[in-house]
Subunit: 336 residues, 2 copies
Amino acid sequence: MNIKEVAKLAKVSTATVSRTINGSDKVTPETAERVRRAIETLKFYPNTNARALGSGRSSLYGLIISDITNPFFPELVKSFEDIAVQHGQEVLIANTNYDPHRMELCVSRMLQRKVDGVAIMTSEIAEHLIDEFHNRRIPLAFLDTAVPQKGISNILVDYASGVDAAVGHLTSLGHKAIAFIAGPMSLESARIRKRAFIQSMKRNGLHLDLQLIEEGNHRTDGGHEGMARLLDLKSRPTAVIASNDLTAIGAMGAIFERGLEIPGDISIIGFDDIELSAFTRPALTTVRLSRQEIAKMAFRALYNTYQSGAVKGAEYPIQPTLIVRKSTGPRPAGKH
Amino acid sequence: MNIKEVAKLAKVSTATVSRTINGSDKVTPETAERVRRAIETLKFYPNTNARALGSGRSSLYGLIISDITNPFFPELVKSFEDIAVQHGQEVLIANTNYDPHRMELCVSRMLQRKVDGVAIMTSEIAEHLIDEFHNRRIPLAFLDTAVPQKGISNILVDYASGVDAAVGHLTSLGHKAIAFIAGPMSLESARIRKRAFIQSMKRNGLHLDLQLIEEGNHRTDGGHEGMARLLDLKSRPTAVIASNDLTAIGAMGAIFERGLEIPGDISIIGFDDIELSAFTRPALTTVRLSRQEIAKMAFRALYNTYQSGAVKGAEYPIQPTLIVRKSTGPRPAGKH
DNA sequence: CTGTTAGCGCTTTCAA
DNA sequence: TTGAAAGCGCTAACAG
């Protein structure tokens, strides 16, 4: 079952069938109709491998993520697939599992399948792997890389405004002693969020107590430990901002263990707005980072770059938004 | 950059390069070594599209799921990818979004990419779409389909034993009035679970009160509503088993809203063991359905079927296990 | 607007 | 054990 059979049935050449499939405008409507009927009756599906070989374009876009079980990613993956399919493109997903070796494997998988572009939504990628793509003129899109370079597109989250919204919300509730549980400092995006917090505190004219800045690991256990240390302080904070939702959820556990109430004793704000955050008790106030937007931007960046044959990437800004739920409340009376 | 260049550099024919790549045993170790070095220095990655075209095997396996943001799927996807990559195969993931049209699109995507097999982990698939695969001799693996047929492999979860473990756990805690919040009756696997519950109650010699069986939708809202109705009963149950974890979580919300305690007033057990269940307060006792096992079985079924050219599928059993956490406790004193 | 035909890069007989 | 060469199914000049 191939294009030849279709051509025979429709009484045209294979070229005409190909043109019809590809929506060329130089085919008479009648001919096209005949071809389409032939395709229909034969239940013919063009072989994408042959198409890719013949045209030099795979219509495949790679999506490299750290770990699909990390709640940040599922919606990102879904949105990426949605928009790709809308454009008639296919998606190749690969998990690095936070493992550099595995990342290398992911890159090789992408290269073998001759992807037309790759969205790299993890933070860890070695320079030489980027070159591998760059040398082959394969468009790349990153999320929050430090430096835009080599024609790579970059999705840039405006962390500053997100953190600002969080700090603003807390100050409007009367909080002054605001703590921050950061992510791992090995992560660029975690460093950016921490810097954003420090600047936001200054901008809001609040005293910045370095004791109130903890380092976590973007997982619940890190949040738990960081919060435990904060609670051991003689003057403990009345509000905490966490670098991501999992950290915040871990912190909530630590607070409950001490018999304290949220938000009665301590208010807490997360970052990301993963699905889980709506289900915690109390539901978590958080700064939403739209994964749908990120995915759409990343795909468009790749698709446009590939289509236009452009060599240079661009920057795409994303605005986070504060989602107020139940984990934040007024500063407790008698506290500072 | 192609196999010819490699052949030239290694001073062999393209056939020998091909054989080396494919690990043929009829290549002298020395020749093979020379070829490998050439591949290395040229940073050559064989073009999978050409390979697929030449060999008639795509080394691609499809994985159709309902919705990656449904917490049941991420771990399944990850495990499937893991095992596929271990076998040098690639994965094509497609979400149906519970939409029949979209399912049709998924099938066409699979067909175009010429997958070597498809794992269909959703419940909704039309008969004629199955034929589409069957006619092309493409192995299929299903999760909990009603009837095994047409050489399709079937991953069969032993729901009976899972539900039995749940009922047993509750009776050992003294519970007698046990309710069940089922999934949507349009779903085969939901029907099976409900039947299993009814049978288990009988086997344990417990009175089966039909009022205590509610129908949900496998989402939190359905659990919430079902539980609300149960709480309105004059003789309300002391324990509830939900058809899946999301239902259980919704039910927990309804219980809390009435000012009741878990497990003080009511014990609750879920099904699936999604990640979220460890984070609820209290942590949810549930029947774990290992997604890793399901994924591995499905892949193996497909891979083996394809490799052996077999026409008929097989059945693969999966045993669920009870995970006891904090949402179950002794029957409250004075209650029945 | 349509047909002819030479590739695309690899696999796989068939010979040697 | 190795090489030559004929496909695999489609695309894209080029010619008409």
